[in-house]
Symmetry: C2
Subunit: 401 residues, 2 copies
């Protein structure tokens, strides 16, 4: 494998060739906020998707899963403000109408339009505003940035990235946008992510590549342990860069590039957790299996007590072990070693004396790491989380009000 990845300045979901987007302030819920956007590819794409594992699925998720059955798509319409979830039969009808309106506007089949919504659950969409908004959207090459802004809810910054990849089977671009903040959790909780590429990718490989990339990125990001009925990750490949067809046999570079894009978006999501003041990176090594390493890392990163301690720069490492202990991963207390940043606080199960003030000072940082060596096997994983602040509660006790 020989390849070079270059991060594009101002890279976004419309950076790959042939993609355009646009957004408007339709007033769906708040005035003066971009809240409705369309992403469009000049030609039909092979398409892959991953969706919430929540048993309650928002209407747009149900519709988009249906539209993706043929692994083709050409446009995405997305709104923020209301999630169109728990909205009964009206919700399905509204999602269908959004796809139809966009299809009419663009002169494509409704089946080729995917739909996503994020926001408050349980309230129907104001369809008059949605319809008027769809009418008004203008699609441009720079429109990816507007789309990134339009999907924000409690996010405090847009999450966008694009990589330029030079590989043996051709040069291509991979771009993406995401929204995260509250409810981010393993299994794609309340997350929207749209990924695009101008590479030519086999549809079956596209789906498996997306799964693999999501497993080590989005599914390892956790903010509060809650999941949402709306989580959607979609990847469109339009082939306009003219690469050879990428498949399971030659897809190693594409896979790496996709993982890199997903990882960068995932880190943005963790950093922007609701009320977060710092990014917490939890590294677990030496687990019996990789699956157990993932479980352990995610459980620690989502523990409210660990998150609160890190918020206060409190080297209360027992909470890390308590979270580890309930994760379901196999643990031998006499073998485990834990580091808070570079400070070893317990080694092979024996506490190591440390200067509390010194460790606390080191935790007073925008990015900290907790590293556990279980010394049982070769499974390893990294999870990203954020601290739990008073601000999280303030934001979430008045979200619909």
């Amino acid at each position: 494998m020989r390849a070079e990845f270059k991060t594009l300045a101002s890279g976004t979901v419309t950076s790959p060739f042939g993609f355009v987007a646009g957004a408007v302030q339709s007033g769906i819920r708040s005035p003066n906020k971009l809240d409705l956007a369309i992403l469009y590819s000049e030609v039909p794409c092979t398409a892959a998707g991953m969706f919430t594992t929540n048993a309650i699925k928002a209407a747009p998720v149900v519709l988009t899963q249906k539209h993706l059955r043929n692994k083709r798509a050409q446009a995405i319409v997305v709104n923020s403000g209301y999630a169109n979830a728990c909205t009964g039969k009206q919700g399905i009808a509204d999602a269908e109408e959004m796809a139809r309106a966009v299809a009419d506007k663009l002169g494509i089949a409704p089946q080729n339009v995917l739909v996503a919504s994020t926001g408050v659950i349980g309230t129907s969409l104001p369809m008059d505003r949605v319809r008027a908004g769809i009418d008004k959207v203008t699609l441009t090459k720079e429109g990816g940035h507007e789309l990134a802004e339009a999907i924000m809810t409690t996010d405090t910054f847009t999450k966008e990235v694009a990589l330029h990849v030079e590989a043996e089977l051709g040069t291509f671009i991979l771009g993406g946008v995401a929204k995260g903040a509250g409810m981010i959790h393993p299994n794609l909780a309340t997350m929207l992510c749209f990924l695009t590429t101008d590479a030519t990718v086999d549809a079956t490989f596209l789906q498996s590549a997306l799964h693999t990339a999501a497993d080590s990125s989005f599914n390892m990001v956790t903010v509060d342990g809650d999941t949402s009925p709306s989580d959607t990750v979609v990847l469109l490949a339009n082939g306009l860069a003219g690469t050879k067809t990428i498949n399971a046999g030659n897809g190693e570079v594409f896979q790496k590039a996709l993982e890199e894009v997903c990882l960068r978006l995932a880190e943005c999501i963790a950093t922007d957790g609701e009320g977060a003041t710092k990014l917490i990176k939890v590294i677990v090594e030496g687990a019996v299996t990789e699956a157990e390493a993932r479980k352990a890392a995610r459980t620690i990163a989502s523990s409210p007590l660990v998150k609160s301690a890190m918020h206060g720069n409190d080297p209360n490492w027992g909470r890390v072990l308590a979270a580890l202990g309930r994760s379901g991963a196999k643990v031998d207390e006499g073998k485990l070693t834990l580091y808070l940043n570079s400070f070893c606080v317990t080694k092979k199960g024996q506490p190591v004396p440390f200067n509390k003030q010194e460790v606390s000072n080191s935790l007073d940082s925008k990015e900290i790491s907790l590293k556990l060596e279980l010394n049982l096997g070769r499974g390893k994983a990294t999870a990203w989380g954020c601290d739990l602040s008073e601000e999280y509660v303030t934001i979430n006790s008045a979200y619909t009000s």
Copy 2:
């Protein structure tokens, strides 16, 4: 089954005949706080216990499980301040020494002494203070109240109860104390509970009765989803009331009384969740199985987003369904009905319009209920939780400091 339960005024763990207790300020961690206590029965008891499911177990849990193998015990020694967890070999030696010191003081076998510790994880006990404290404890009939106080950490009130039970096979008293607050979760997270009775109870039945009672009480209480290496529930029966021997064949009244005692302590624990301002009762009916009803109720009661919304009196009912959806319980969205207090907000999957201000006013209360009808089967369960307040974060970002 004919029986009468009477709540004893000022009832506590020493209300049953033959139990005494006492506590001292040993200065284990803070000055001027009762922090070390002993509970003693004049005669050896049949004994049952339930312990943390966390893979990391505190030294006192390891020792107490060992001492309970013969289903006999006569005393319990407990301290707050440090949990003696993640303390390596020294921790086990310290727990053994606590049992030995109490055995010497009381003239009984160390095997008959159970040990429990609660507090900060990862720091060894100051054994000089523990030893001196054990020496100083004076045991009295009123000492249950001191013990209830000595086991408090971030608890804001003592949790004590005793029931006087008149049944066909004799009159007896059941008493108990508990500590809860932070980290309370299904599977007995960071909870200490000591239960006593002067009934004569078969040891095998005692253990099964304790399991059944805990399943519908302590295991349905959740504060923050974290669990602790120290969770311990112990039940001692000394037989001094002279009842007939209670066993699986005739134990219905005892079982009910035990459940009642456990329920009352569990409700106290939920009410006293760290920073809690209200008790949230989650009732799930019509689940496929009782196990699924429990999963659903507990997941909802521990959702940070549900807890934050309830803190702000925000009728954001979509969050309740989102938590339900990730609980693992089978759900048919088109069949489910949800009430916030007495207000139906969604009926058979269709949102029901409601006056937001009116429902919000009703949520502005010390005790609220969320009731879900899944309409799939006959499984039902109730979980107790509390809201998530800014105060929770403040408490937990500076616990060891």
